[in-house]
């Protein structure tokens, strides 16, 4: 829709539900990619501790943005995204989800414009958060400050696991993507080879010429099989792997939230302690600042409790989410592996059959 730089793809979102909060059984709305981003960001903000399902990447390459394959990949990923939210016992209750699934386009546009900037965390920010934490750590080593990062073994274990997992997965995904390309390349070269052999076949009108022509034709047929399998591989194996990587990145974002909450908790605790010192000072000197200081102190304590509560919630949720995540990924990858193996077997069998079918004719030519 739209023109030139303004052009964008819109997606039809069809919701079927029997939940009472929703109006009616079935609703169809039109949404664009940035609407999905809005939903993701709102959920991320509201449900700290929960691993929000990942979105497919924005595409920066202009001409690729409208290729059929890219659009199909994105559509599939967005479909998975919304359905994961809808099947998560907490996320599905979100008001934002309801707006996303039901609101008319104007309401949606308005909601989207309201949110620009404030809540969005760019990837750079995540890195910055960790850098801050790390600089604090080095300050501690130098004896300057108290540590502001969690140092429990459980936390360390999870954090290291997630970070290393991302590296391993990214490598596997990189090769999987290349493998898709290799299938296409093999298909192309086989096709060219087939064409050349067919031409060679025209040089002779005898059995040899026919044999060449048949081989060339068969090579072209097999080339098509390879292209098909390349597509299947992309959609059913590489994409799930990519999705896995995104999921891990989403967890990293949650870990960053946790680190932020922990830092806030620690800082507040610091502040409260100083405030206590001040309070005692005022009490001793019977200063007139005492009343106000007591008020402030109470507010800080309340805030401190709230902050701790939030932090504990994040920790609790994360622990639950990890279990869910591991199970989900085992089943997602299991399916992806199955599709991969099935596809490869199908391709190889197809190739074997195709070549074998030439043999009887070839025998006839030889005699």
């Amino acid at each position: 829709m739209g023109n030139g730089v303004q052009a964008y793809i819109s997606y039809k979102v069809i919701t079927k539900t029997n939940l009472p909060e929703y109006q009616g059984n079935e609703k169809i709305v039109i949404r664009r990619y940035s609407d999905f981003v809005w939903l993701h960001d709102r959920l991320f903000e509201k449900y700290k501790g929960i691993f929000i399902p990942p979105l497919p990447e924005k595409s920066t390459v202009e001409k690729f943005r409208f290729s059929a394959e890219f659009i199909e990949m994105r559509r599939q990923a967005l479909d998975v995204f919304v359905n994961r939210i809808a099947s998560h016992h907490e996320l599905r209750q979100s008001d934002d989800l309801r707006i996303f699934l039901q609101a008319d386009e104007q309401t949606m546009d308005r909601a989207r414009f309201q949110e620009t900037g404030i809540f969005k965390k760019k990837p750079a920010d995540l890195i910055q958060i960790f850098k801050d934490v790390q600089s604090k750590v080095s300050d501690v080593v130098l004896g300057k400050e108290k540590p502001v990062e969690e140092s429990t073994p459980e936390y360390e274990k999870i954090k290291n696991y997630i970070f290393e997992l991302e590296d391993h997965l990214a490598e596997a995904q990189k090769h999987a993507y290349r493998l898709v390309k290799r299938h296409r390349e093999l298909g192309e070269s086989l096709s060219e080879f087939g064409k050349a052999v067919k031409l060679l076949g025209t040089c002779d009108d005898d059995a040899l010429g026919k044999a060449f022509s048949e081989l060339g034709a068969k090579a072209e047929i097999i080339s098509i099989k390879l292209q098909k399998e390349a597509h299947h591989l992309l959609m059913n194996f590489e994409e799930p792997l990519k999705d896995y990587v995104r999921a891990v990145q989403s967890i990293k974002a949650t870990i960053a939230e946790r680190a932020t909450a922990f830092k806030k908790q620690c800082e507040l605790a610091e502040t409260i302690k100083f405030k206590e010192i001040d309070l005692n000072k005022y009490r001793l000197t019977r200063s007139e600042k005492l009343a106000e200081a007591e008020r402030e102190y109470e507010m800080l304590k309340a805030e401190g409790e709230e902050t701790s509560r939030r932090f504990d919630t994040i920790v609790r949720l994360m622990n639950e989410e990890i279990v869910r995540f591991q199970e989900q990924k085992t089943s997602d990858m299991g399916l992806a592996f199955h599709e991969f193996a099935k596809g490869q077997a199908r391709l190889s069998n197809g190739i074997a059959d195709a070549w074998r079918s030439l043999l009887p004719k070839l025998e006839a030519h030889s005699s």
């Binding site: 290349r178 290799r182 050349a196 060679l200 591991q326 085992t330 190889s348 069998n349």
Partner: protein, 541 residues
């Protein structure tokens, strides 16, 4: 293929990870690395002989979990042994479909080239120190009667091979003689390089085996002397023959009369093609003749009659062009097969690492399950990668036939140009005769007008008549030569057509069986994994 080598070492670098995998299938290992074939006319073609013993990365723990020397390697060796000759060693390994050959006779001529050694040329008084050159050990086994022995060896240098090739070209005009390996500008540094020596050794071996496979040339005296005669190669290069030492001012008759002790030089020598530098005048004449042929002035009495031949030549030319095209696409195909195998292997290794990681860090059972699934996929990918590598090694061997025939086409072209130059010689002599005749006629007419005769004219006429007689003999000889070459062409063409038919059908069969066979193996590998993971298909999204 450097990229491939680097990838290989990367592939085997994390061997320790592979050790924890149990590879229970008998997937054979491929250890081939292609060399470029120096016989190729375009030096960039990667097809070639695949050396059977290739030193791999030295990680012994890897070798210990690999299977013993594979079936595929055994195929390599037997293929190498009887690769070049469809008529040698009746034992063919038909499972890899080497060219289907007619039932071979019992005689054999097996040649091996080995053991390059540097030798010093003995210094002569002019050049102090002398130059170094390389000799190769040529070992022959045969039961052909022409040879004195059944098993013998000689040492030859590359220059000797050039001599052999030149002599064969002279003696066997009209035949499709296999082309010898290229000379290269050999600097003394290059000569020491192991790789160069190995390439040359392999090229020489290929060349000699091709000669031995040719039904006529294998029985030639030149080849026999090359293979058997000890010491210095007794083949003389015709350009050294004293009679050729005449400079460009000589006339054709003088060439015939020559300065040799034996008096008149054999008219047959005239029938040989003019060699550069020595027979300048003759070259001039033949050039003039060919120009006048082309410009269609006087129609030469001996016309290249064969419209059939012209058609045939055109067809062969078309075939050659298409063959070259196929050869290029085949090269690209081989590269693509190699690439997909490599990537499959790299992905497999990445999954191996992931599996290890998950296993080590597993907290939940779901992780352990996933690690197990992943291991299956990783193992299968690595197996598939090996299969691709083997498939490719075999593909290269089969498609090498294409490349071999490009060389044969060059030999065919040479044989046809032998014929053309023989025809040109005949035509030259014919017009020489015709011009002699007209000069004689003119002189006779002039002389007859003078009563009593004109002494000087009559003497001249006699000289001319003598020249005419000699030239007539030369012409007959040249015609015989031309007919001989035509006959050779014809026989060779028949042989060529038959061999081409058989060889290519064999190649196609081999290629197809190879592709189908490996595809089936791969299908089996993946079928297992698909079955093992079929449980997940039930709750697919």
């Amino acid at each position: 293929m450097m990229g491939y080598e680097n990838q290989e070492s990367h592939l085997y670098a994390s061997k320790e990870e592979m050790e924890s995998l149990v590879l229970d299938d008998d997937s054979p290992t491929g250890t081939a690395q292609p060399f470029s074939d120096p016989l190729s006319s375009s030096s960039s073609l990667p097809f070639a002989e695949i050396p059977t013993d290739q030193s791999q990365t030295p990680n012994s723990s890897f070798n210990s979990i690999l299977e013993p020397p594979s079936y595929a390697e055994a195929i390599f060796r037997s293929f190498d042994a009887d690769h070049s000759s469809p008529q040698l060693n009746g034992a063919h390994d038909h499972s890899i479909a080497s060219p289907s050959s007619p039932p071979s006779s019992d005689d054999f001529l097996t040649i091996t080239v080995s053991d390059p050694q540097k030798e010093q040329e003995l210094s002569n008084s002019l050049v102090p120190g002398g130059t170094a050159y390389v000799t190769y050990l040529i070992t022959t086994r045969t039961n052909l009667p022409e040879f004195d022995g059944t098993e013998f060896s000689v040492r030859r240098r590359f220059r000797d091979v050039v001599t052999l090739s030149d002599r064969l070209a002279e003696s066997y005009r009209g035949f499709f003689i296999p082309l010898r390996p290229d000379k290269s500008v050999v600097e003394s540094q290059v000569m020491q390089k192991q790789e160069f020596l190995e390439q040359r050794r392999a090229a020489l071996e290929k060349y000699l085996r091709r000669l031995a496979a040719h039904p006529v040339i294998r029985r030639s005296e030149e080849l026999r002397m090359f293979l058997e005669a000890n010491g210095k190669l007794p083949l003389v290069r015709t350009t050294d023959v004293a009679s050729r030492m005449l400079d460009g001012a000589v006339q054709l008759p003088k060439q015939i009369f020559g300065e040799t002790a034996g008096g008149m030089v054999d008219a047959n020598e005239v029938a040989q093609p003019a060699k550069g530098g020595r027979d300048l005048l003759r070259i001039f004449r033949e050039l003039k003749q060919s120009v006048s042929n082309d410009w269609g002035g006087v129609k030469p009495p001996v016309v290249e009659e064969d419209k059939e031949l012209v058609e045939k030549k055109q067809k062969l030319h078309d075939f050659e062009q298409q063959l070259s095209n196929v050869s290029q696409q085949a090269e690209a195909l081989v590269k693509a097969q190699q690439d997909i195998g490599e990537t499959m292997g790299q992905m497999g290794l990445a999954f191996v690492k992931l599996t290890k990681f998950e296993t080590e860090r597993a907290v939940y059972d779901s992780q352990r399950t996933r690690a197990a699934d992943m291991k299956n996929v990783a193992t299968a990918s690595v197996k598939a990668s090996r299969l691709y590598r083997e498939l490719n090694a075999q593909t290269v061997k089969h498609l090498d036939k294409l490349h071999e025939y490009l060389g044969v086409m060059l030999a065919v072209n040479n044989a046809f140009s032998d014929r053309s130059s023989a025809l040109l010689t005949v035509q030259t002599l014919l017009s020489e005769l015709s011009s002699l005749n007209s000069r004689i006629e003119k002189l006779e007419a002039a002389a007859s007008k003078i009563f009593g005769g004109d002494r000087s004219r009559i003497r001249k006429i006699e000289e001319l008549k003598e020249t005419h007689r000699v030239t007539e003999d030369a012409k007959s000889s040249a015609v015989r030569e031309y007919e001989r070459i035509k006959e050779n062409n014809k026989n060779e063409l028949e042989r060529f057509e038959k061999e081409r038919h058989d060889d290519f059908l064999g190649m196609l069969r081999g290629f197809i069986v190879n592709q189908a066979g490996y595809a089936e193996k791969m299908a089996n590998v993946w079928k297992t994994v698909a079955e093992e993971t079929s449980g997940y298909a039930k709750h697919g999204s």
